[in-house]
């Protein structure tokens, strides 16, 4: 879409290219403004949710399956950490300070912002065909050979090819789709299922997960999966070049070498 500004100055674009000769660095568009803004809001929310989530778990680091569970019942497992409640048997001789008040408040506030941001991302992603264009893998991407190569290359610390600076390989596409359409919805659902009032309006949201304590345990494991994703995500960014990839997510442009004729 031509803007009024560029329409009035038709010569502007050709001035720069006529001066330079040989290969130059040009900045190619990489991420849309909406993807960048939602990415960083989600990043902030994710850290807030992670820190406060850990704080809340510390008040009862035991997990159960089914509807109920207390210190008087057998847990599915217990994390080997101290607790902020003295009635929880942990094996540690001390009790951590209670931080649940602000942790719960920030957890739910960050969850609200993350969910609203996620909705904005999903709706705009559908409208702008972002998912179809940038994330749904092609048939060729999905061959075992291609997927295995994508998996093995970073394990050998091989930097991605120049082509991958402007696009994702099949494995990355599948991973992003899995995080966006499976892990995020599941962590939201299992979180909401723990709300007594929400569960009163939609009781099947708890029943389908196997009960309140099952929902809590699922919430914990999906959060772990998201943290694992975060580690791999950041490792891949570092391998590909931390500043260029992070810069692309901030400015929206990625540097590529281009031959001029």
């Amino acid at each position: 879409m031509a803007t009024l500004g560029s329409a009035q100055l038709p010569a502007q674009g050709s001035v720069a290219s006529s001066v330079s000769t040989g290969p130059v660095m040009v900045l190619a568009p990489r991420h849309s403004a909406l993807v960048r803004v939602t990415h960083w809001i989600t990043t902030l929310c994710f850290f807030a949710l992670l820190v406060t989530g850990i704080e809340i778990v510390i008040s009862h680091p035991r997990f159960y399956w089914g509807e109920t569970g207390t210190v008087l019942t057998t847990p599915l497992f217990q994390l080997p950490i101290p607790s902020s409640r003295k009635l929880v048997p942990t094996g540690y001789g001390y009790v951590l300070p209670d931080q649940n008040g602000w942790s719960r408040a920030l957890h739910f506030e960050a969850a609200w912002i993350a969910v609203l941001t996620g909705l904005l991302y999903i709706i705009s992603g559908l409208l702008t065909r972002h998912f179809r264009k940038d994330l749904v893998p092609s048939k060729a991407d999905l061959s075992w050979r291609a997927l295995l190569t994508s998996f093995a290359k970073p394990l050998r610390f091989e930097r991605p090819s120049a082509a991958e600076a402007s696009s994702y390989n099949g494995l990355q596409r599948l991973t992003y789709l899995f995080v966006i359409f499976v892990l995020f919805p599941l962590v939201i659902w299992s979180g909401l299922a723990m709300s007594l009032a929400f569960a009163s309006a939609l009781p099947w949201s708890v029943t389908l997960l196997g009960g309140r304590q099952s929902a809590r345990t699922i919430h914990f494991f999906v959060s772990l999966a998201l943290v694992l994703f975060l580690f791999v995500h950041v490792a891949m960014v570092c391998l590909a070049g931390f500043w260029s990839r992070t810069g692309a997510m901030i400015t929206g442009r990625t540097g590529t070498r281009k031959e001029h004729t």
């Binding site: 803007t3 009024l4 500004g5 560029s6 809340i56 778990v57 008040s59 009862h60 035991r62 509807e67 109920t68 569970g69 207390t70 210190v71 008087l72 019942t73 409640r85 003295k86 009635l87 649940n100 008040g101 602000w102 719960r104 408040a105 920030l106 739910f108 506030e109 960050a110 969850a111 609200w112 723990m194 709300s195 007594l196 009032a197 929400f198 569960a199 009163s200 309006a201 009781p203 708890v206 309140r212 304590q213 809590r216």
Partner: protein, 252 residues
Amino acid sequence: MIDLSRRKLIVSGLAAAAGASGLAVAAHLAQKYGLVPPDHGGIYGLGETLTYASQRVLTRHSLAREFPRNKISPRPFPNELAPLTEDFKRLQAGGFADWRLSIDGMVHQPALFSIADLKSYPPRSHITELACEEGWSYIAEWIGVPLSHVLHLVGVHPQARYVVYVSMEPDTWDSIDMADALHPQTFLCYGMNGSDLPVAHGGPLRMRLPRQVGYKNIKFITRLTVTDSLKGFGNGCGAVACEYGYAWYAGI
């Protein structure tokens, strides 16, 4: 290189204006329909308000999940109790015969109720889960008189918006809005699993509202005050828990 056209400027200006006026309209409507919690200020006010407003819209009349009798937890976990006061021990020695619940504030007839008075009204029970904000939960049968029954007896003024409930434990009180106060599952609870409510669980009288987490279910209730504003109570955010950073509305 800033690609800022006149069209973009006009569109984003209009969007910002629409957003700002939309927010103002939303805030006005939220106040009007009682969707703003008393602890809406501060950095967490946005989250508290979104949670309270959305759950009020979605769950005003919904019933907490009830369970079959065989799902009752064999060993309900009584959370930590503060040391019992001398006044409490004296009443306990008398079998709580002298325990009184007073109701005052915006009511036509302030009144005093003994436990026997409360037990003389048609008893109600539900088998529901008590869930603590820490993460644990158990299921029990809760027996009592619906708070709405007692509120109808004393006659609540139409402008009433909250019920403040005070424990015999020092510095322990909380409040709920009328939606929860009049909810059929909100009990002045005096029994549990077929017997009197044990002291460890808040006996002789506990507030029981199964759609909010454990800390709203205050033990040892002695006083109810019906009010249209929480300004005069504590620091005005509606509960002593808020003064320790806990949310007033705990449906989540």
